[in-house]
């Protein structure tokens, strides 16, 4: 059963693709086949699940995109960042990650937060200081920095 929805928005030479749902063995990227727009962005914000079969389908699909296209990944949730860090080819050479979500924890509120970050905010693979929006206290980065931000070395 298909569990992935693909929403496309074409603006002249720019294509914005929103992916919604699960990237798994049933994921079908045929409708995006042979993309040749100059700038292509993929918004992963609404991706809820990804598995090894889905990764395979994604990598196969990336190979069909013209080398001349600029690819940008946006709003990558933690599950996507984890795959980018682990799987060779999930993130194509020359592509960029514009923004993503990083896990933080507020000890004061005892609450986990997924904070939206832009790649340029991360220097030397160190998590930027973030304040809790509820209590204003500094939050702790809730993963291992060297591992979580290792993708920035690939970009």
């Amino acid at each position: 059963m298909k569990r992935l929805t693909i929403n496309k928005q074409i603006l002249q030479d720019e294509l914005n693709v929103e992916l919604v749902g699960a990237i798994d063995e049933d994921a079908d990227f045929k409708e995006l086949g042979g993309l040749e727009q100059k700038n292509i962005s993929f918004d992963f914000e609404k991706i809820t699940m990804i598995n090894s079969c889905g990764i395979r389908e994604w990598i196969k699909f990336l190979e069909t995109i013209s080398d001349k296209s600029n690819i940008v990944y946006r709003n990558c949730p933690q599950i996507i960042i984890e795959q980018i860090n682990m799987v060779h080819g999930f993130f194509r050479k020359g592509a960029s990650i514009e923004s993503f979500y990083a896990p933080y924890f507020c000890e004061n509120c005892n609450k986990e937060n997924k904070v939206h970050l832009k790649s340029e905010q991360v220097k030397n693979r160190k998590a930027p200081k973030m304040e809790c929006q509820t209590c204003g206290e500094d939050m702790d980065f809730d993963a291992i920095e060297a591992q979580y931000f290792s993708f920035l070395g690939k970009v």
Binding site: E25, D142, A143
Partner: protein
């Protein structure tokens, strides 16, 4: 300080526990796998707090496994995460002892099989669906064939009904005359004609019902010439309408082990295709010849359907047996016929081929000889259990072969049927047969002649005769001269047959 950081390089999640099952280390993959940040994982004392299984006692398995300092592998486990109820994994755990400065520790490596398991389940479901769809396609093709023939079949039914009605009127008229006793012979003749006509109607309807019945893959010993006659009968009305003559040429009287309805469906399809091709080409003296031949060299029986139609262009030939290839106009014919015919013949370990396509077409159905097919069909049971006894039964009557096949199949015996003594002798030399049961009075060779040749060729196993009581004297002679082990007197019961066979199969006391 213990250094387990080398586990960080692994793709699998790894948790290190001590003898008290306390977690002392976990790699980054473990944090991702258990969907818990390192901060939370550090605060948990053991694995049971972060994972659970409804059908496997993880704690008990650890307790037992930690007693021996050996690598242990768990069965496949369905794992849940108490903090994330929507997550379910299928995993295998590997427990690896790791000796450190602080004593014995164990690395628990989680091998995640979830994707593999999911794909396998999907594959099985889709395979079942495909099988059902295939069965529906087969049935649909049958219905299509029946639909195409029905218009002509109703004509066939009308003929005998008209005859029966006519002769019933004759009988009615005879019964009203004063000296009716003088008309008895005519009345009897008219009555007989009525009965034969109604029997003909009954047979046509029975054939239709048999044909439509969703048959399982049940095979039986069948006389191929009878089967071909039946198939020709189906197509005869359509052929007559198209002025096509159907001839038959039986060079051999072959018995085959087939699903009668399915092979009949194949022959009907082939003949009908020929008739249609001739009709569409406007050929005036159209004819179709169906022939039956045995090829000893190939150990096969051939059924050829040859026509004098327009032949077949090269571009059609290439994809001939693929589904949805049709030479007919859209809307007439599904194009499934030859694809299905090919699959049916293959399911009998045979082959459907186009052997001539320029001056008309000749299609050939190749079927293995029944001795070979009976033997190879039983192969899985033979390889499973080499103690199963192989019984070769030789009789030219298919009903006897089918009855004995049914009897022996209920016991742990492998039944190999044969209707031709020459084929049976040839087969005896190639295969290991534990017992031969031979009909005594066969047209080509009687039981004595067969047994003599079998002994001369080196067969030393037991032989039983099947016959009527008038050949008992011959049996007594052969018992001594040809070492015949026993006699089955027709008609026989299942009990008699099995008792005699088991007695013959008992090892002899020298």
């Amino acid at each position: 300080m213990n250094d387990f950081t080398s586990f960080d390089h692994l793709f699998d999640p790894v948790v290190v526990i001590n003898l008290k099952q306390e977690m002392v280390y976990f790699n980054n993959q473990a944090s991702i796998f258990f969907k818990l940040p390192p901060r939370v994982l550090k605060s948990k004392s053991n694995l049971i707090q972060i994972s659970d299984s409804a059908d496997f006692d993880i704690e008990a398995w650890f307790s037992k496994s930690l007693l021996s300092f050996d690598v242990q592998i768990s069965p496949e486990i369905r794992l849940h995460l108490p903090h994330d109820p929507e997550t379910e994994y299928f995993i295998i755990m590997k427990l690896i002892p790791v000796q450190t400065n602080s004593g014995a520790n164990f690395a628990v490596v989680f091998h995640d099989m979830t994707v593999e398991k999911t794909l396998h389940m999907k594959y099985r479901e889709q395979l079942e669906e495909l099988k059902k769809t295939h069965a529906q396609i087969l049935q649909a093709d049958k219905l299509t064939t029946l639909g195409e023939l029905t218009a002509n079949i109703s004509h066939e039914i009308n003929n005998p009904l008209t005859i029966a009605a006519g002769h019933s009127e004759i009988m009615r008229d005879y019964l009203t005359v004063p000296n009716v006793s003088e008309k008895i012979p005519q009345l009897q003749k008219a009555n007989q004609t009525v009965l034969e006509s109604l029997e003909r109607v009954n047979q046509i309807i029975k054939n239709m019902k048999d044909f439509l019945h969703q048959s399982e893959d049940q095979k039986e010993y069948c006389n191929l010439s009878t089967l071909i006659d039946s198939a020709i009968e189906w197509v005869q009305p359509a052929a007559k309408k198209a002025n096509v003559v159907i001839e038959k040429q039986f060079n051999d009287s072959s018995v085959a082990l087939v699903n009668r309805i399915k092979i009949e469906q194949v022959i009907i399809n082939l003949i009908k295709n020929s008739v249609d091709a001739i009709s569409e080409a406007g050929i005036k003296d159209g004819h179709v010849k169906v022939s039956l031949t045995k090829c000893d060299k190939d150990q096969q029986t051939y059924i050829d359907v040859k026509d004098n139609g327009p032949g077949m262009p090269e571009n059609i030939k290439q994809n001939l047996f693929k589904p949805f290839q049709s030479t007919k106009d859209a809307g007439s014919g599904t194009g499934l016929g030859l694809s299905i015919c090919s699959k049916i013949v293959e399911s009998h370990k045979g082959r459907l081929e186009l052997i001539e396509s320029e001056n008309g077409c000749t299609f050939r159905i190749k079927l293995p000889l029944i001795e070979v097919y009976s033997y190879t069909r039983n192969d899985p049971s033979l390889t499973r259990n080499m103690k199963l006894k192989r019984v070769l039964v030789l009789d030219n009557e298919v009903q006897i072969l089918n009855v004995l096949n049914a009897f022996l199949s209920e016991e742990d015996l492998v039944f190999i049927g044969s209707s031709d003594p020459v084929d049976a002798l040839s087969f005896l030399q190639k295969a290991n047969i534990d017992l031969v049961v031979a009909d005594f009075s066969m047209p080509v060779m009687n039981g004595s002649e067969f047994s003599t040749k079998a002994r001369e060729s080196g067969y030393s196993g037991p032989i039983l005769y099947m016959t009527s009581s008038k050949f008992i004297e011959q049996f007594n002679k052969d018992k001594k001269n040809l070492d015949i082990s026993g006699l089955l007197i027709k008609p026989f019961s299942k009990e008699d047959v099995m008792k005699t066979i088991h007695a013959a199969l008992k090892p002899r006391e020298d």
